[in-house]
Symmetry: C2
DNA sequence: CAGTGGTCTAGACCACTGG
DNA sequence: CAGTGGTCTAGACCACTGC
């Protein structure tokens, strides 16, 4: 209510808060607040790793109680869009510097954690602009023939080539992406996407299959042809469920496995 | 505080609420309440599909505010231990009759949803008591040689054999499990476990690999030997993270895939 | 209609962080 | 110390269910 029909505005002149609720169907106040915060997040008003205003301040801005803001932020935190730190503030989530690196990579060594084998070595085989095939276009919500950036690379852990992957990105958003960027950046590739292109991947959907390595794949992963590989097709989405990356990885699973927790 | 040091007891004589907090380290009140509710759930005081007492009633019993009970139940609902239904009550979650059937089975047909191919046909190849190998014992937190029930079966979708799986269950808890129960029960096997053995699986951990079918596996799944299969090793746990089932499934992924959502 | 979960508020106090 | 997120309360009212 307070958002849709604000009482005599006080801070409106200063901040222009209270955008049109469009054709808003009914929803709880805290959902509306969540939506307003989301808008600021995707508009880039608050950038990754930055602090967002305190709960008290947001409550004042939106003219609701702190509890209502709190519930909105609770959901954003549950969605991994934001990270709360007691005593410090609430921060826009990022794929970098967060100690939850490699959030989307669920391949782990059979024994021990990922840290035991050190950082991955990236070998970029290819990075070029091409035109989207029908299949790629469908996945990325583009039209066939639209420009896309295609990357092929091999990731090695402890010197062993383990992942062969092919990545497709919308050409207009990722204009100017170079093989050097893909190879040289320290930390997760998704962190580089945030920093260089302002694109933050929010969630992803994976389709997993078992396949047999063809001759080329076998060579790149130092295997015999026909060896079983895990095929992981990932569609990564940014705010508003907008697809922003299509990736197909072939994982060796002789000394690693894909770990998944169900609940 | 209210739980640890209850004021002059009123309902204690009637209900005996306020079990010893043991060596309780400090934790928020709502966490303590969550723990108390959890105790009732795992003790079987409230059984699957039954309603638990209302928030108001629990608040009165535990001598805290409704909001505190609410937060405790919120977390239990987030953990899928309990299901809230506005206007009706809060119910103990179950693998049956919940329209989230097959919560742990992430294999879906490439096109369309699971309903399009009808229910799975179960073919039980084997169901017998054996002694736990070192590996099985380790997974189930038993000792080598302890009795376990071993089941082997094939699941077919639309007439096509798709999953070959081997299941190990602690022999003492699942004493008397028969092939008829494994085959005949309508609905998820996990629902049968709840009904017949009072064991509710709360969460699970899966390790996924790509493997090549051996001669026997290929025959049972109507494939050529060496065909790539998804190996899904699942450890299912009940309350208190107690392991209760070890399962190794081999999935055909020529017309199905393992679907996973990351966020 | 009464009873349930769901929302919202206002205020108090606690726990943690940093200057 | 002030500022932040985290907990807890008490009470009001809304939305949904079933009798």
């Amino acid at each position: 209510m307070a958002v849709a029909h604000p009482p005599p505005p006080e801070t409106d002149a200063a901040g222009a808060d209270a955008p049109a609720p469009t054709t808003a169907a009914f929803s709880p106040l805290y959902q509306q607040i969540k939506g307003l915060i989301l808008q600021r997040l995707q508009s880039g008003e608050w950038k990754p790793a930055e602090a967002i205003p305190s709960e008290m301040e947001l409550a004042a801005r939106f003219r609701v109680s702190q509890g209502t803001v709190r519930k909105a932020i609770d959901e954003l935190a549950a969605d991994n869009l934001v990270v709360r730190r007691q005593g410090k503030g609430t921060f826009v989530a990022t794929h970098a510097e967060q100690h939850v690196r490699y959030r989307f990579l669920k391949l782990v060594p059979d024994s021990g954690d990922r840290d035991s084998e050190g950082p991955a070595h990236r070998d970029v085989l290819e990075c070029r602009r091409v035109r989207a095939s029908a299949e790629i276009a469908r996945g990325l919500a583009l039209r066939t023939g639209d420009p896309v950036v295609q990357v092929r690379r091999v990731l090695s852990f402890g010197g062993v080539p383990t992942i062969l992957e092919e990545i497709w990105l919308p050409g207009t958003t990722f204009k100017g992406l170079t093989a050097e960027q893909m190879a040289g950046y320290q930390g997760p590739t998704y962190a580089m996407f945030e920093l260089e292109f302002g694109v933050r991947m929010v969630r992803a959907e994976e389709k997993i299959r078992a396949v047999a390595a063809d001759a080329q794949q076998a060579r790149l992963l130092a295997l015999r042809e026909g060896a079983p590989l895990l095929s992981v097709e990932r569609l990564s989405l940014t705010y508003n469920d907008l697809p922003m990356e299509l990736r197909r990885g072939l994982y060796r699973t002789d000394s690693h496995h894909y770990r998944n927790d169900l609940n």
